[in-house]
C-alpha cells in the first residue's frame, strides 16, 4: 500500500523559518513533509518554549536512555511538530547573526515566523527588509491577532486564543462552564491555515513571479472554524449554547460509557434508518415506537431521556464489540481511542500516517506524520525533528560556502552553537 519514498509536491522549494512552539513549528513541518527543504533558525537566547526550559530535566521514561543527552532535544512537544526540518542556530540579536540570516534568505522561497509582531521589525528582517534582498520572497507571519489593528501587539498563545476566538464559549458540557480543549488547539488550526497561505503564495509566485506577505491572525483563523456559530449570532442574534457532543440537528449524537475504566463509544444517527438499526443492535425495538423517540425531531426534543436510555444500554456493553455491531448495522460509530491506542491503530498504521520515527537521542518512537496523501508525489519521506543546531555546519557550507573554520568562529563569538548561551540564567530564560 505504501508507495516507494519520493519527494512531495513542494520538492525544490526552500523555507528559512523562525517558527517556534506549536503553530509555527507544525505549519513548517507540514511543508517539510510535503517536500520543502525547511531550515529552522533557532535563537538560543530565546529557547523555543516547545523545547522546554534549559534547566528542565529530561522527562521520565526517556532520561535513563544512554542516548538521551539534552532535555531540549528530548522534548516530545518539540519533536512531535518538527519533523522533516534542518536546524541551525543564529543569535539574531547580533549583527553577525542577522548578517548570516540575510544571506540565507537569498536562497529561500519562503520565510515563516510566529514571533510577536514587533520582533521581526526590531531585528531588521521584516517583509519590506527581506523583499529588498529577495524581491519575490514570501514571508508568512502567524501571530496572535495579526499585524495591524488595536490588538496587534497583544501577545497570545493557543490557550488564550481559544477564548478570544469564540471557541471556549462553545466548548463544554451542556450544564457546565466554558472550557479550553485538552491541548492548545488554536495552534494547529493556525498551522493548517499557514500551510494554505504559503502554498497559495507559492502557486501565485510560480505563475507571476511575485512574492507577497501572509498575515495570519490566530484569532481570525480560529474564529473562522466556528464561523457558523458567529453567523448564527449575526443572523439570529443568539449565542449558541454549549452542546458537549450533541449535534444541532441529529439525535442521538454523543459519547457514552461502556464496560471498563474510561472506555467510551461515540455513536450518531443521521437518518431514521440508522436509528432503527441502532434499536435493533440495542435489542430495544420498543424504542422505535416510543413517542419520545419516534422521529429525529422527537429525539432531539427529548435528548436527555434519549441519552439516558442509551447510556444504560452501552454501560453493559464491551466497547469494541459494540462498535463492530453498530458499524455492521450502518450506524455511525467509533471507539474513543486513547493516545496509546492511536499509536497502535491498525488503520492509521496501514495508511502510513502513524509510524515509527528514529530519533538520535530518543530512539524509535511512534509519531503522527503528514495527514495528506499525494498519488503522483507521495511525500512519504519522514525525518526526525532536528537536534538543536544539528545542521548549522552543513547548511552554512551548502548554501553559503562557509568553511568549518568560519562557522567555528561564529560559535566562538556565541552567534551559533548549541545549548544555553554563555551567562544565561537557566531558570529565567
Amino acid at each position: 500500500m505504501t508507495p516507494p519514498p519520493t519527494a512531495g509536491p513542494l520538492h525544490g522549494t526552500r523555507g528559512i523559518v523562525l517558527t517556534q512552539a506549536w503553530a509555527g513549528n507544525w505549519c513548517t513541518a507540514l511543508l517539510g513533509m510535503m517536500g520543502a527543504d525547511v531550515i529552522q533558525v533557532e535563537f538560543r537566547g530565546r529557547l523555543d518554549s516547545w523545547r522546554g526550559d534549559y534547566s528542565a530535566p529530561i522527562m521520565a521514561g526517556i532520561r535513563d536512555l544512554p542516548t538521551a543527552e539534552y532535555s531540549w532535544n528530548c522534548n516530545p512537544l518539540y519533536n512531535s511538530v518538527s519533523l522533516n526540518k534542518r536546524c541551525i542556530t543564529l543569535d539574531l540579536g547580533t549583527p553577525e547573526g542577522v548578517g548570516v540570516f540575510r544571506r540565507l534568505v537569498v536562497y529561500a522561497d519562503f520565510v515563516a515566523e510566529n514571533f510577536s509582531p514587533r520582533v521581526l521589525g526590531n531585528l531588521g528582517i521584516d517583509y519590506d527588509a527581506l523583499a529588498k534582498i529577495k524581491p519575490d520572497i514570501i514571508v508568512a507571519s502567524l501571530s496572535a491577532y495579526g499585524h495591524d489593528g488595536p490588538w496587534a501587539n497583544i501577545p497570545g498563545i493557543g490557550g488564550t486564543i481559544e477564548p478570544t476566538a469564540g471557541q471556549s464559549a462553545l466548548l463544554g458540557y451542556v450544564d457546565g462552564p466554558p472550557l479550553n480543549s485538552g491541548q492548545m488547539y488554536p495552534d494547529p488550526i493556525a498551522g493548517l491555515y499557514g500551510v494554505l497561505g504559503i502554498v497559495s503564495a507559492l502557486h501565485h509566485r510560480e505563475r507571476t513571479g511575485r512574492g507577497q506577505y501572509v498575515d495570519l491572525s490566530m484569532q481570525e483563523s480560529n474564529l473562522s472554524i466556528v464561523g457558523d456559530a458567529a453567523l448564527e449570532f449575526t443572523m439570529n442574534g443568539t449565542q449558541r449554547p454549549r452542546l458537549a457532543n450533541r449535534h444541532t440537528t441529529f439525535a442521538p449524537h454523543g459519547i457514552f460509557g461502556t464496560l471498563g475504566d474510561d472506555r467510551w463509544v461515540a455513536l450518531a444517527c443521521e437518518s431514521e434508518a440508522q436509528w432503527s438499526a441502532l434499536c435493533d443492535v440495542a435489542r430495544h425495538p420498543e424504542w422505535r415506537a416510543d413517542p419520545r423517540f419516534v422521529t429525529n425531531a422527537a429525539r432531539k426534543a427529548n435528548e436527555d431521556a434519549l441519552e439516558a436510555v442509551i447510556s444504560a444500554w452501552t454501560a453493559e456493553a464491551d466497547r469494541d464489540d459494540l462498535v463492530a455491531r453498530l458499524i455492521g448495522a450502518g450506524v455511525v460509530a467509533a471507539p474513543v481511542l486513547h493516545s496509546l491506542e492511536v499509536a497502535q491503530d491498525a488503520h492509521l498504521r496501514a495508511r502510513g500516517v502513524v509510524r515509527e520515527v528514529e530519533h538520535p537521542e530518543v530512539g524509535a518512537r511512534t509519531q503522527s506524520t503528514l495527514p495528506m496523501h499525494f498519488s503522483r508525489t507521495p511525500a512519504n519521506i519522514v525525518r526526525h525533528a532536528p537536534l538543536q543546531g544539528q545542521h548549522t555546519y552543513e547548511v552554512l557550507d551548502e548554501l553559503l560556502g562557509m568553511t568549518s573554520a568560519e562557522v567555528d568562529e561564529l560559535v566562538r563569538l556565541g552567534v551559533s552553537g548549541t545549548g544555553p548561551p554563555d551567562g544565561a540564567d537557566l531558570g529565567a530564560i
Binding site: 501577545p155 497570545g156 466548548l171 443572523m235
Partner: protein, 377 residues
C-alpha cells in the same frame, strides 16, 4: 487585485462540511467553484440552526461564494455530466467513499483527465481497513485520540466545538490541493489525486499529546479540574484563561494580581515547575482573578505584554474593535443587504482573499454552467 486562484475552476461533488469548507476556501482564494446538489438539495442545507426564513445558517456559511448546479449523481445522466464538467476544471473535490465513487463511475480514472487534481476529503481516507466505514465529525474526534484528552476527568470525552474536526480537515484538504496545483505549475499536465482523511488530520493535531504519551508509555488523560493554566476560570463578569507560558508572563501577571511571593520566587519562572506544582498556587490565582472584570484584566495584562484570554461571546466578537479595524467581518460583494459573515482566516498582500457571493439557491446556476460546458466542448 485578484486572488491567488483566479482563473482556477473547481467542481465540488462533496456532501460534507469538510468538503464544503475546502471549496469555500478555494473560492475565497479566487477560484470559480461549482457545487453539485442533488434533486433534494445539498445535505448541508438540512443542518440547524435556521434563520427567520427557514434557511440553514451553517449552509449559508459553508456554501457561500459558489455557483450551484442540480444534478442527480444516482443517474447515468448526472454521472455523465459530472465527467464532462470535470474535463474542463482544474480541481474536483469529493467526499465519497471508494465504493461510492466506483458505483457512480466517478473515480479519478473515470475522469480520464491527467491534468485534473482530484481531492478526496473523507473520514477515513481512500484506502486502509476503515476506508468504507462511514464517519463524521464526532467519530473523527473519537478515533484520532482528540476526544480522549478533551473535557473533564470522570465525565465523557468531548469532541471539538461546532464542526471543528471537519473544518480543519477542509483546511488541510485545501492546502494539499493547492500544493498539487503548485506541482502542476512546475510539471505541466501532471494532475494527481490528493487524499485527506479527517481522522488523520485530527491525529496530526493530536501529535504532541500522542508523542508525550508514547515517551511516557502511558495514556494522556483528561484534566481533573479547570484551573487558570488549563483553561477559563470564573471572573466577575464571565470567564478568563491565564495560560502563562513564559517566565515574564508569570512574574508580571502575579504582580498584577497582588501575589508578589509567587512573582518573586524564581522557581516559579520555569514552566515545567509550574506544571508540576500547580496545586500550590492554583486556588490563590483563581481567587485573585475572581475580583476582576474580564476587560479590565485583559487590558492591564496587555499593557504588561502578558498573554491573556477573556472568554468572548459571539456578540462580543461581533462588536470587537480590533476585528472591526482589521476588516474581518464581510458582506458578500454582490449582496449588500446580507448579514455580516465571518471573513477570511488570513490575509495575502498581493492576492487578497474575498467573499464574492452569498450562498446560491439550489440549482441557481444549472443552466448557466451547462451552457458554458456546451460552449467549450
Amino acid at each position: 487585485m485578484t486572488g491567488a486562484l483566479d482563473g482556477t475552476r473547481v467542481l465540488d461533488i462533496s456532501t460534507t462540511t469538510a468538503g464544503a469548507w475546502c471549496t469555500r476556501l478555494l473560492a475565497a482564494l479566487g477560484a470559480d467553484v461549482v457545487v453539485v446538489e442533488g434533486p433534494s438539495g445539498h445535505p448541508l442545507r438540512a443542518i440547524a440552526p435556521f434563520d427567520a426564513t427557514g434557511s440553514s445558517i451553517p449552509a449559508a456559511y459553508w456554501l457561500a461564494d459558489k455557483r450551484s448546479v442540480t444534478l442527480d449523481l444516482d443517474t447515468p445522466d448526472g454521472q455523465a455530466t459530472v465527467r464532462r464538467l470535470a474535463a474542463r476544471v482544474d480541481i474536483l473535490v469529493s467526499s465519497y467513499r471508494p465504493s461510492e465513487l466506483a458505483a457512480r463511475g466517478l473515480t479519478y480514472a473515470d475522469m480520464a483527465t491527467p491534468a485534473l487534481v482530484m481531492g478526496h476529503v473523507t473520514p477515513h481516507g481512500m484506502d486502509g481497513p476503515l476506508a468504507e466505514v462511514p464517519g463524521n465529525d464526532l467519530t473523527d474526534a473519537a478515533r484520532s485520540g482528540w476526544a480522549s484528552i478533551n473535557g473533564n476527568l470522570g465525565r465523557e470525552p468531548l469532541k471539538p466545538a461546532a464542526w471543528g474536526g471537519s473544518m480543519c480537515s477542509g483546511v488541510a484538504a485545501a492546502g494539499a490541493i493547492v500544493a498539487a496545483l503548485f506541482h502542476r505549475d512546475r510539471h505541466p499536465g501532471e494532475g494527481q489525486e490528493v487524499d485527506v482523511g479527517e481522522v488523520e488530520v485530527l491525529a496530526g493535531m493530536f501529535a504532541p499529546a500522542l508523542l508525550r504519551s508514547v515517551y511516557a508509555n502511558e495514556p494522556y488523560g483528561r484534566r481533573d479540574s479547570a484551573d487558570s493554566l488549563g483553561g477559563p476560570v470564573p471572573v466577575k463578569d464571565g470567564h478568563f484563561a491565564l495560560t502563562l507560558s513564559r517566565a515574564h508572563f508569570w512574574r508580571d501577571a502575579m504582580n498584577l494580581l497582588g501575589l508578589t511571593d509567587l512573582a518573586e520566587d524564581p522557581r516559579w519562572g520555569a514552566s515545567f515547575y509550574r506544571q508540576q506544582h500547580r496545586d500550590e498556587y492554583s486556588k490563590r490565582v483563581t481567587d485573585a482573578m475572581s475580583e476582576w472584570n474580564k476587560a479590565d484584566l485583559f487590558e492591564e495584562l496587555a499593557v504588561r505584554r502578558v498573554v491573556a484570554g477573556p472568554v468572548l461571546t459571539m456578540a462580543e466578537l461581533a462588536a470587537n474593535e480590533h476585528l472591526r479595524e482589521r476588516g474581518f467581518w464581510l458582506k458578500p460583494e454582490d449582496d449588500p443587504d446580507s448579514p455580516e459573515m465571518p471573513g477570511t482566516p488570513f490575509k495575502l498582500s498581493d492576492t487578497p482573499l474575498a467573499l464574492h457571493h452569498a450562498a446560491p439557491k439550489p440549482g441557481a446556476h444549472t443552466a448557466e454552467v451547462l451552457r458554458e460546458m456546451e460552449a467549450s466542448s
